[in-house]
């Protein structure tokens, strides 16, 4: 139990150092700490549970193999995210080009194609007010660059500066991607007849109210 408490209090970089010295238990501590965020990242970027698991596992495997190359020039978490993002990008690219398994004889590839998606239409989800599913579907209309930027910003709390480092793009590019992504999502929600659950500028809403709200936000 004592060791558990110890590893909990250590920083990622301390755990990495211990692991490089041969203590594989520290790597388990690192995985315990980061597997959920990495899995969620992969899940939101790819959209499929089992593939997200695979990507997550591969991320840790690569991190473990390349741990000696990690020279704490960056945060361990940033390094891990970078590996995961690249794997997701490769996965999406590969997925578009070729099917995972060659189609067996007698089975039309087109029959297999919709297998990855739930049969529920976005309208069904809207009717049942399953907004999570609606968001998941709506996110698919975004380009993968917009999607990645929004996922990192909204669900992982990175600053624009951090995202720009992770993706090797200028900060302004990331902001533009987030802006266009959000705008596209807004269009999509509107098309589905979903009124935004948060404050909307209703007709007659006074400027002072807007001011109040902005002040509260900041």
């Amino acid at each position: 139990m004592g060791t558990l408490v110890d590893t909990m209090s250590w920083t990622d970089e301390e755990l990495v150092a211990r692991c490089v010295e041969g203590d594989t238990e520290s790597f388990n501590a690192l995985m315990q700490r980061w597997e959920r965020p990495i899995y969620r990242l992969a899940y939101r970027l790819i959209g499929r549970e089992d593939d997200a698991h695979d990507v997550c596992q591969e991320t840790f495997l690569r991190a473990f193999r390349g741990l000696k190359k990690f020279r704490s020039e960056a945060k361990f978490s940033s390094w891990l995210y970078r590996i995961a993002i690249n794997l997701c990008r490769d996965w999406v690219r590969r997925e578009r080009r070729t099917p995972v398994v060659a189609a067996p004889e007698g089975i039309d590839i087109l029959d297999l194609a919709p297998a990855d998606d739930t049969s529920e239409s976005i309208q069904d989800l809207v009717e049942r007010r399953e907004l999570g599913g609606v968001v998941a579907k709506a996110m698919k209309v975004l380009s993968k660059e917009q999607r990645t930027a929004i996922v990192l910003k909204e669900y992982h709390g990175f600053t624009f500066q951090e995202i720009s480092n992770l993706l090797d793009c200028p900060e302004s590019t990331i902001k533009t991607r987030v802006y266009h992504g959000l705008s596209q999502l807004r269009g999509e929600f509107r098309r589905l007849g979903l009124s935004n659950s948060s404050v909307r500028v209703e007709a007659g809403l006074s400027q002072s109210r807007v001011n109040q709200l902005s002040a509260r936000e900041s």
């Binding site: 594989t24 790597f27 388990n28 995985m31 597997e35 959920r36 899995y39 969620r40 899940y43 939101r44 549970e49 997200a52 698991h53 997550c56 596992q57 840790f60 495997l61 473990f64 067996p104 089975i107 297999l112 297998a115 049969s119 907004l131 999570g132 609606v134 968001v135 998941a136 996110m139 929004i150 910003k153 909204e154 669900y155 600053t159 624009f160 302004s172 902001k175 533009t176 987030v178 802006y179 266009h180 959000l182 705008s183 999502l185 929600f189 979903l194 935004n196 659950s197 948060s198 404050v199 909307r200 500028v201 400027q207 807007v210 001011n211 709200l213 902005s214 002040a215 936000e217 900041s218």
Partner: protein
């Protein structure tokens, strides 16, 4: 002030920075005061906030990974379809090698038909015959040298007996017929010895052949058994692979049906 407001209005980068509160206090102040006077920008900000609040609804499915590093992390990571073909190929190569050796040894006949792989041995007389022929010269050489030696001894003994005979002739004078008789007996005796030796050698040779045949038979049986075993193993592997393929197919069909 007017020009600044113009720059701010509709500036996506600034609006996004303001939306996520990642701007300096000064910039925030400017945008706030711009939003008071610009309804379009104020609406934009509010709608984007609405989209953001919608995004919080999306929570990934509950089943989350629980990875654990075990000591055999490297070998464990490679999926079965990476290691299997190599192994099967190696086995196949080994089996092929054994078969090739066996074929060269035992004149094997291999056919692949509807009943599967059939291995039949063709180890019969024709193959033993060349061995016999090849073994004979050695034996002949031995025999030749032996015969040579005997002939020499015979010649020596003849020379000795000849001198004795001449002595006896000198002593007895008229007993020429007796010396002839001694010579004949001697030749007969030597001939007998030679025959005996020849017979003994032939017996020995037969014995050696029998031994050789027995040894090759045992070796052949062992080889055949080994080939049989290897082929069985190989078949087992391919069957396992076929089963795995079937399972994969079933899974695909199941998934396609969903």
């Amino acid at each position: 002030m007017g020009s600044k407001r113009l720059n701010l209005c509709g500036n996506k980068v600034s609006l996004i920075a303001y939306l996520y509160d990642e701007c300096s206090a000064e910039e925030r102040e400017e945008i706030s005061s711009h939003l008071i006077t610009c309804a379009a920008c104020a609406q934009e900000i509010d709608e984007l906030k609405g989209v953001r609040s919608m995004l919080t609804e999306w929570v990934p499915a509950e089943s989350e990974p629980q990875f654990q590093l075990v000591s055999r992390n490297d070998s464990g990571s490679s999926p079965w379809w990476h290691s299997q073909p190599v192994r099967t190929f190696g086995l196949a190569a080994a089996a092929l090698l054994v078969t090739a050796v066996a074929v060269s040894l035992a004149n094997l006949e291999i056919t692949y038909g509807s009943e599967g792989l059939l291995v039949r041995t063709g180890w019969t007389r024709p193959t033993t015959a060349p061995v016999l022929e090849s073994a004979e010269p050695e034996w002949r050489k031995e025999f030749e040298t032996l015969a040579e030696g005997l002939r020499e001894k015979f010649a020596e003994s003849q020379a000795v007996s000849a001198s004795e005979v001449s002595l006896a002739n000198a002593e007895l004078g008229d007993e020429g017929s007796r010396t002839g008789m001694t010579d004949d007996a001697l030749v007969e005796r030597v001939q007998g010895l030679v025959d005996e030796s020849e017979q003994r050698q032939q017996r020995e040779l037969a014995l050696r052949f029998a031994q050789l045949l027995r040894e090759t038979e045992v070796q052949r049986q062992a080889d055949l058994f080994q080939i049989d075993q290897q082929l069985g193993q190989l078949q087992g592997f391919t069957e396992a692979e076929v089963v795995q393929h079937h399972e994969l197919m079933d899974y695909l069909v199941l998934v396609a049906g969903r």
